[in-house]
């Protein structure tokens, strides 16, 4: 019995060691490129092109970033990205929680049809709506405007689905009690329901902000002049344009795109991963 126990324990120890080795190698493979990106962005172009490469920068320089922020308009792109992402997030939080509440807790004709339409929309690939959306936005005269960048993303089927599912778990009694106290419907929503939705709102807010910040195809076609570019658009166009092998510039641009998201993610990751595990949507 004792012999068997120690045998088991050694086997456990071996299994554990193997697991750690594999996981650490995996972590290196996944996080390594980011570290490499950050380190290389601090090297002068000459050192970036050196073979064999230096792991740690021999000369640390901020020249790449200086160029992004002075010669190129990265502060403006950053502002555009932030403005669009913030407004899109606010819109989604507000409109999706309103309709999510109605779908979960109110009874009115047409509700079922509305919910089915939302569910159906979850299946539709972006490319299907892409062309008509572009025609629509250009007919409205909104190409190359902030409104054109924001309006098509102000609501989304996913947000409604998430909010409705969450709101269904809120007990009816709370809402009934407020109604008996004579509170108006909107007041009930704002004062009673919404504060209870904080976890769902946090998840939806983070996910919407990220997908807006990283959104690429739509701003690529709607923003036609540089002053309306968002960060990913600017970075993508530099990386396929004449600067395509100007790695110092591109890598530091990538750092600027990734860093805010990274900070948000690391600060809120608990919320984040829990939200994804329960909703199953990124």
């Amino acid at each position: 019995m004792v012999a068997k126990d120690t045998a088991l324990r050694t086997r456990d120890r071996v299994a554990r060691t193997v697991l750690y080795v594999v996981l650490v190698l995996g972590l290196l493979a996944v996080a390594g490129p980011f570290v490499w990106m950050a380190l290389s962005s601090l090297k002068p172009e000459r050192e970036i092109r050196q073979v064999p490469p230096t792991w740690w920068p021999e000369t640390v320089t901020l020249d790449n970033f200086r160029e992004l922020f002075s010669r190129l308009d990265f502060p403006l792109y950053f502002f555009n990205s932030a403005l669009v992402a913030v407004l899109v997030t606010v819109g989604n939080l507000l409109f999706c929680s309103l309709v999510g509440y109605a779908l979960a807790k109110l009874r009115y004709p047409g509700k079922r049809a509305l919910f089915l339409a939302v569910l159906g929309m979850l299946m539709v690939p972006g490319m299907v709506t892409f062309v008509p959306q572009f025609v629509l936005v250009s007919n409205m005269g909104l190409t190359n405007t902030y409104a054109g960048l924001i309006l098509p993303f102000l609501v989304g089927p996913f947000g409604v689905f998430l909010m409705r599912q969450f709101l269904q778990s809120i007990p009816d009694d709370l809402i009934e009690a407020a109604r008996v106290d004579g509170a108006g419907e909107f007041r009930i929503f704002w004062r009673v329901v919404l504060p209870l939705c904080r976890p769902a709102l946090a998840t939806l807010g983070i996910l919407t902000f990220l997908s807006s910040w990283n959104n690429f195809l739509w701003p690529l076609v709607v923003a036609t002049t540089e002053d309306k570019y968002t960060l990913p658009v600017a970075l993508a166009l530099y990386s396929v344009g004449q600067n395509r092998t100007d790695y110092g510039l591109l890598l530091s641009g990538a750092v600027v795109v990734v860093l805010p998201v990274l900070i948000v993610f690391l600060l809120l990751q608990r919320h984040f991963l829990r939200g994804i595990a329960t909703t199953g949507i990124k």
Binding site: R16, L19, V22, L23, G26, L27, V30, F34, W36, I48, R49, P52, P53, L98, V99, Y101, A102, L106, R107, Y108, G110, L114, V118, M121, V124, P125, G126, M127, V128, T129, V131, P132, Q133, F134, L136, N139, L151, P152, V155, V180, E185, L210, N214, F216, L217, P232, L235, S239, Y247, L250, G253, A254, V258, V261, L262, L273, I276, A277, G280, K282
Partner: protein
């Protein structure tokens, strides 16, 4: 639900309602008020949803049966209905066929690869043998939240034939690395590996949640029966995880069928269209101003996505 409300609803306003008013009119007014309230909450969303999503879905279908071009936008009368011409043209369009094959390869190889990586990571982290689980989880999830454009920039740098880290590491062990993204045979596989690298963290989180829902006494029972770790995995974990795996497979498949950004930033669809995807082809047709044709191609993609979901549900779901 309706029964319960009919029983309780009249009870409340009973004091307020004058007895001479017929109950029917009260109920009708209540119903009207409920409808108004419901739609007041739903209206802002519904308007935006109809204009920017539902309408485009329908418009796209309508467009796909016309020869609409970008130049026709100011002159809608020049647009002709062409029936299914766009669809028949698609299937004799070599580039569309090429892009379909590329996209299929991407899905057929990429989805299983991503799922295996995700399941391996999730199982390892769930085994109870590993500490610092949060660290690994966050680390593996990192690429999921980062912009694909930034990732593409980093990977192009890593895969650069001369100065890239990958080939420099290969050189250390005496292998002359190929020029990954400039080789017609290697470009698509490179994108597949990159996609698996980028997306497995997302599935890992989903699988972890699924694993944690497997009742511990099942493993207990299996262990009492003398099952090895591998047998436990085969006979307890996998069957219990089936719905989660199905879900993961479907959403990864849906995402991969829409492949666009990776080839756009990494290879521009090249070399020689070896990484041209269906979405990229649609985008190019849109760029050429062929709106009707692009819309038809997008509907073919839509049908493929629905079909893939149905097939996967059949394959993985039937034994439930």
């Amino acid at each position: 639900m309706t029964g319960a409300s009919a029983a309780t609803a009249p009870a409340r306003p009973a004091g307020a309602t004058s007895p001479d008013r017929p109950a029917g009119s009260v109920r009708r007014r209540q119903r009207l008020r409920r409808a108004l309230t419901g739609w007041a909450f739903s209206a802002p969303f519904t308007v935006l949803f109809l204009v920017f999503m539902a309408l485009p879905v329908v418009a796209s279908l309508a467009m796909s049966f016309t020869d609409l071009r970008s130049t026709d936008l100011r002159n809608p009368l020049a647009v002709n209905a062409v029936g299914i011409d766009n669809y028949t043209r698609l299937f004799s369009d070599d580039l569309f066929l090429r892009s379909s094959v590329n996209t299929l390869v991407f899905v057929v190889v990429g989805v299983p690869l991503t799922m295996v990586l995700a399941l391996a990571a999730a199982t390892a982290l769930n085994s109870g043998l590993v500490r610092f689980r949060a660290l690994f989880r966050v680390g593996f999830y990192l690429p999921v939240v980062t912009s694909i454009v930034a990732i593409a920039v980093v990977w192009r740098f890593l895969l650069d034939p001369e100065i890239g880290l990958v080939n420099n590491l290969l050189r250390l062990v005496g292998i002359a690395g190929p020029s990954w993204l400039f080789d017609t045979r290697l470009a698509l596989p490179s994108l597949i590996v990159m996609a698996a690298w980028r997306n497995f963290g997302f599935l890992m989180v989903i699988f972890l949640a699924g694993l944690q829902a497997v009742p511990a006494d099942l493993y207990e029972a299996a262990r009492l029966d003398g099952a090895t770790r591998w047998q436990q995995f085969r006979n307890v974990t996998l069957p219990m995880l089936r719905p989660t795996l199905l879900f993961g497979g479907v959403i990864t498949g849906i995402g991969y069928l829409q492949l666009f950004e990776e080839p756009f930033v990494m290879t521009q669809g090249g070399p020689l269209s070896s990484t041209l995807s269906v979405s990229f082809h649609i985008y190019n047709q849109f760029g050429f101003g062929n709106y009707g044709y692009a819309a038809a191609a997008s509907y073919v993609l839509f049908v493929a996505i629905v079909a893939l979901s149905v097939v996967q549900f059949r394959l993985l779901g039937e034994r439930n």
